[in-house]
Amino acid sequence: MTLLKVSDLRIWYPVQKGIFSRLGYVKAVDGVSFSLNERETLALVGESGSGKTTLGRATLGLIKPTAGHIIFDGKDLTKITDKKQLMEFRRKTAMIFQDPFSSLSPTFPVFRILEEPLIIHGVKSKEERVNIVYRALELVKLQPVELFAAKYPHMLSGGQRQRVAIARALILGPKYVVADEPVSMLDASVRVEILYLLRELQEKLGLAFLYITHDIATAKYFSHKIAVMYAGKIVEYGETREVLRNPIHPYTQALISTLPDPDPKNRFRMMVVIKGEPPNLMNPPSGCRFHPRCPFANEKCSTEEPFLREINEGHFVSCHYAGEVFIKETTTSAVS
């Protein structure tokens, strides 16, 4: 069942010089559509500046979109004006942030951090709040709970903090959680633990995740579906296994080829690194936004804008030559 449906979402930031002259817009998200089912994880992959975080925040109503619709649980988020409905929406959604050092209020102890959402959402009895908070701490395996509840964030390690942040996200019993690079700032050893925890929680609580990351390796591990973003647009979208096994868009192919490969047979394979930098979103390239960096770009790519089309079943790609071009991995012979 579809929980979240985003259609043709645009988030344009006006850029102003002085009070009167408007220079234009930064098109952070430009015409994005996707849907997310209940109990499902969608990984949003892309390099920094591709608009993935902006998109994630917009689906939580933290950023007002310029155009488009976000339909959550049958209600259009962009049309919610009623405070009660908005609070209902807030209760059903949550966010886990990238930086566990900045995502917890330094002036509150853990108990208060977790209690705040409950106070705001009108859980009147203190006893009930204590129960919920302790249960949430148990859920994220911060035990003994009484000990952790009394601590301040600065007394905790990065992994423990992120667990607190996850507990806070889950405390209102949400259906949909945006996880914005939840493990990118953690130590490699803690990373796996947190991802395990997230997956376990998803199964236990039936959560839908929007997992924002630049790391395809963790996306592969954690997500059901994957959407690759480039310069404010989704360039490829489909089942994670399918997309990773059979990447169609040149950008996706390049991203996947940069993954470290543990197979010693491939030790002389050269990684394909895409040249150039992501485009300036205020003035994106005409036609296909990837064409200045694409090794296969031709006339058509620079004039005509491609749209997402279904290449295989459930596998959408936005490229004029989808299925026709493949980045070849060059192999060097032994190092001389």
Binding site: R90, F97, S103, S105, E116
Partner: protein
């Protein structure tokens, strides 16, 4: 470099680790304990009498601090008060003659500054006749007063009373054949007998036991006279007296609670208001931000002191109204700008966004999530602006625009300035109140600097 401590407790611990912090805290503790003890040592009733000249008349005028008698015993003396007399009474028909006698040792090396006689008299119909004689150690007996007292307290300042001066002139005339046009009883009475005994510069002090004899001729039974003699020195109290005989220690002690109350209340209220208004303006939107900041700019450029002087001249305000006006002119200001910069910084932290994502209202975020973070900075701002307001109060008092009913350091300095105290050498009248202002400001400033060092990462020592 470690991150700045967030809790107030940690900040205090850090502050007490630096030398400036310790000095600042010690100074502030000293002033605060002085302010707290003042009402017990010198009740407010005394402070209220600050402008009541009569109340201070027992003190010597323009006396230096009494400890100057130890440092410079040749130049300073303290006051001698003679109020215990032994009396003998003889009845001669209707007339009753009472003789009160008492003696004192005068061992100072300088002349008294003044001599005052107080006669507390009571009678039925006819005034008693009184004659007062001073017997000196060299055997001379000089009549210093002759007359009929009124009912109640009769104050005779021998140094100024023309009748008494005439008595001294006649003594000088009978002994040396000269009648000086200006006579100084306080010198003549205590000088070694010679032709120069009326000249303070040339005469030398006659030291020894002096005896005062008061003969009262009473005409009825009810008549009673209680005499008192004040031989004023020129040193008094811990901090001396001013031209109105006021004991400066009262003014200086009462200056502390007044300065502290005014300075800290003004600083706390203005900083709190400025920070809350500035932070709210920035937090609630671009337009309100613009509005608050432009109003702050306006308030920063208008000259507050001239406006306060104007307000004062028009309304003649007391200290609490003055405080109100000061606060009114500081609703927004420098601290609003500091708050703005901090909001811009804090609002980018992810816990703020997290709070919005779980539905916290903007008001809740501001008061519960942002302002507590600014608390240490607010403390530093308060400590920095308290001396500014103490100076402001002192300035207004100095200009005679403060509250006229209570003493304050600024007012003491203003009085001293008007009397030309420094020019005439009454240094104690200027130095002590000025020193108090400096100490309080220094305490606050050192404290604020060490506080700033702790909460402001840029200033933190490695």
């Amino acid at each position: 470099m470690s991150a700045p401590p967030t809790g107030l407790k940690q900040v205090f611990r850090e502050v007490l680790r630096s030398k400036t912090g310790i000095i600042g805290v010690v100074l502030l503790l000293f002033i605060t304990s002085l302010a707290l003890l003042t009402p017990f040592i010198a009740p407010f009733d005394i402070a209220k009498k600050w402008n009541d000249i009569q109340w201070w008349s027992d003190n010597p005028v323009l006396a230096a601090p009494s400890w100057m008698t130890i440092i410079m015993p040749d130049k300073y003396s303290t006051t001698i008060i003679l109020d215990e007399f032994s009396s003998t009474t003889t009845q001669q028909g209707d007339i009753r003659i009472t003789t009160h006698t008492s003696s004192f040792r005068y061992s100072f090396r300088n002349f008294p500054s003044e001599i005052k006689l107080v006669l507390d008299a009571d009678y039925e119909v006819q005034k008693p006749q009184i004659r007062i004689t001073l017997s000196r150690p060299d055997g001379e007996n000089i009549v210093i007063f002759q007359g009929l007292p009124n009912k109640g307290e009769n104050i005779v300042n021998l140094s100024l009373d023309p009748q008494s001066q005439d008595l001294i002139v006649s003594y000088l005339f009978s002994n040396f054949g000269v009648a000086p046009s200006a006579v100084y009883p306080e010198v003549v009475l205590f000088a070694v007998k010679d032709a120069n005994m009326n000249d303070r510069m040339k005469a030398s002090v006659l030291r020894g036991i002096y005896r005062l004899t008061i003969d009262v001729i009473a005409f009825d039974d009810r008549t009673e006279v209680r005499p008192r003699l004040y031989v004023y020195g020129n040193a008094f109290g811990l901090f001396g007296t001013d031209a109105f005989r006021r004991d400066l220690i009262v003014g200086i002690m009462w200056g502390a609670p007044i300065a502290l109350a005014f300075g800290t209340i003004a600083a706390v209220v203005t900083v709190l208001l400025q920070v809350i208004i500035g932070a709210a303006g920035t937090w609630f939107g671009t337009r309100s931000d613009e509005l608050v900041q432009r109003v702050a700019d306006f308030f920063l450029i208008i000259p507050v002191l001239p406006i306060l002087i104007l307000v004062n001249i028009i309304y003649g305000i007391n200290i609490w109204a003055l405080l109100g006006w000061v606060i009114l002119f500081s609703l927004v200001g420098v601290s609003s700008k500091v708050a703005r910069s901090m909001v811009l910084q804090i609002r980018e932290e992810q816990y703020i966004e997290a709070a919005i994502s779980y539905g916290a209202s903007k008001k809740r975020v501001l008061f519960l999530y942002m302002l507590p973070r600014m608390l240490p900075y607010m403390f530093a701002l308060i400590a920095l602006s308290a001396p500014i307001y103490i100076f402001l109060e002192a300035t207004l008092s100095f200009l005679d625009l403060g509250d006229p009913n209570i003493p304050s350091w600024g007012k003491i300095l203003g009085d001293a300035y008007e009397e030309g105290a420094l020019y005439l050498g009454y240094w104690w009248w200027v130095i002590f109140p000025a020193l108090m202002i400096i100490l309080v400001s220094l305490g606050f400033t050192l404290f604020a600097y060490s506080f700033d060092k702790v909460v402001n990462p840029r200033l933190r020592e490695e």
